[in-house]
């Protein structure tokens, strides 16, 4: 029997949902709208890899100058500069065109991978790569990028913008990246009882069991992303407008209310708060 090594995110509940973690060398898409915590999840993945599992990493950003990433990470208590000084991490800031370019077999990321003996990588984001290319060219380049990362024995998180209202859609999905990815994690803001909350779902994980239930998560300065329980008592959460589930408890409450209303003018239906 062969055993496959798991790449733990270090977020205990997420690793549990993934049956122990992502599979080694898998390319994982983390899709979500702006502000859902994709960057936080990516940073947590490389920081935990370097500090807890002996798996050094690279964080590639097209979006921000790294000094902003260093500052944001510090707010979670993650000292990226110290990890860089220890040769456990590299934060690379460049443009998508340059990351895709290679010359005589030499790739921009090669030297960084060698410097820290990287095992993990985060690409922030695939959406920036898509912006430079037609859908067809994106499909080809995304495939080339994923295969390059696999060849280098890297377990990768590829962050992708996804619209708030929809699930995993847009140029990344149309370009077939979802098909190329080994796993997809969706981060989604949802409105429940007039408040915004965050939902996480694993849409796919090739070659492994995974928890298909939707889970709530929070982002705190002390822990980064923490996954809480399920959204009990609600359904249609992914539609963006959750409804209370008609449970036996609620039905019982209705029945009692209706019985009482026969004798007096009371509200016919009372929903539990």
């Amino acid at each position: 029997m062969t055993t496959t090594n798991r790449v733990k995110t270090g977020i205990a509940e997420l690793d549990e949902m993934l049956s122990g973690g992502f599979l080694e060398r898998d390319a994982v898409i983390v899709a979500g709208a702006e502000g859902t915590g994709k960057t936080t999840l990516g940073l947590q993945y490389v920081v935990n890899g370097a500090t807890r599992y002996g798996e050094n990493g690279i964080y590639v950003t097209f979006e921000e100058l790294p000094d902003q990433i260093y500052r944001d990470a510090k707010s979670f208590g993650w000292d990226l500069r110290s990890l860089e000084d220890q040769d456990k991490l590299r934060v690379v800031c460049t443009s998508p065109k340059l990351v895709l370019a290679s010359h005589e077999g030499v790739h921009l990321l090669d030297s960084f991978i060698q410097e820290v003996h990287a095992r993990r990588i985060v690409i922030d984001s695939l959406s920036h790569v898509a912006m430079f290319l037609s859908t067809e060219a994106f499909r080809q380049e995304a495939y080339r990028l994923i295969m390059y990362l696999k060849t280098k024995r890297l377990s990768s998180l590829l962050l992708a913008e996804s619209s708030q209202s929809a699930g995993f859609t847009g140029p990344i999905a149309e370009g077939g990246a979802g098909f190329l990815a080994d796993a997809i994690v969706l981060l989604k803001p949802v409105e429940i009882d007039s408040a915004m909350r965050n939902a996480l779902a694993i849409l796919k994980q090739r070659g492994s069991d995974y928890d298909k239930r939707l889970r709530e998560y929070t982002i705190t300065a002390s822990h980064g992303i923490t996954i809480a329980g399920q959204f009990k008592g609600y359904d249609s959460i992914m539609s963006g407008s959750a409804r209370k589930t008609i449970t036996d408890e609620i039905l019982g409450s209705w029945t009692r209310s209706m019985g009482e209303s026969k004798g007096a003018s009371k509200p016919r239906v009372r929903l539990r708060p």
């Binding site: 100058l65 800031c93 460049t94 290679s102 010359h103 790739h107 921009l108």
Partner: protein
């Protein structure tokens, strides 16, 4: 030794653009970009910065690499050379204090 460091210091800080470039690469040590891309990040044009970038490449502070079929030239901070320069200058400054 000290005159070498004085020359080095003068060369590092001989223009405002060089000061901006040093700050940029120290705050973002993982920056890899074309000369034009680097210039853009400090609000300038490639033509304005190319002389100073070339000088930093000659000093070994920046490394130049060629990428892609279009043979795009990119520059990045040479971390080990940077550490070397900083250590040498720190020693020089300590000597001045005495």
């Amino acid at each position: 030794m000290s005159s070498e460091n004085e020359i080095l210091l003068q060369r590092l800080l001989s223009s405002d653009i060089k000061t901006e470039l040093l700050a940029l690469f120290h705050e973002n040590p993982g920056l890899v970009d074309t000369t034009s891309g680097v210039a853009l990040r400090i609000g300038m044009t490639g033509t304005e910065v190319e002389g100073d970038v070339r000088d930093f490449v000659e000093l070994g502070l920046l490394t130049k690499r060629t990428l892609g079929e279009g043979k795009t030239e990119v520059v990045q901070l040479n971390r080990s050379r940077d550490r070397e320069i900083q250590a040498s200058l720190a020693k020089y400054f300590r000597g001045l204090k005495k």
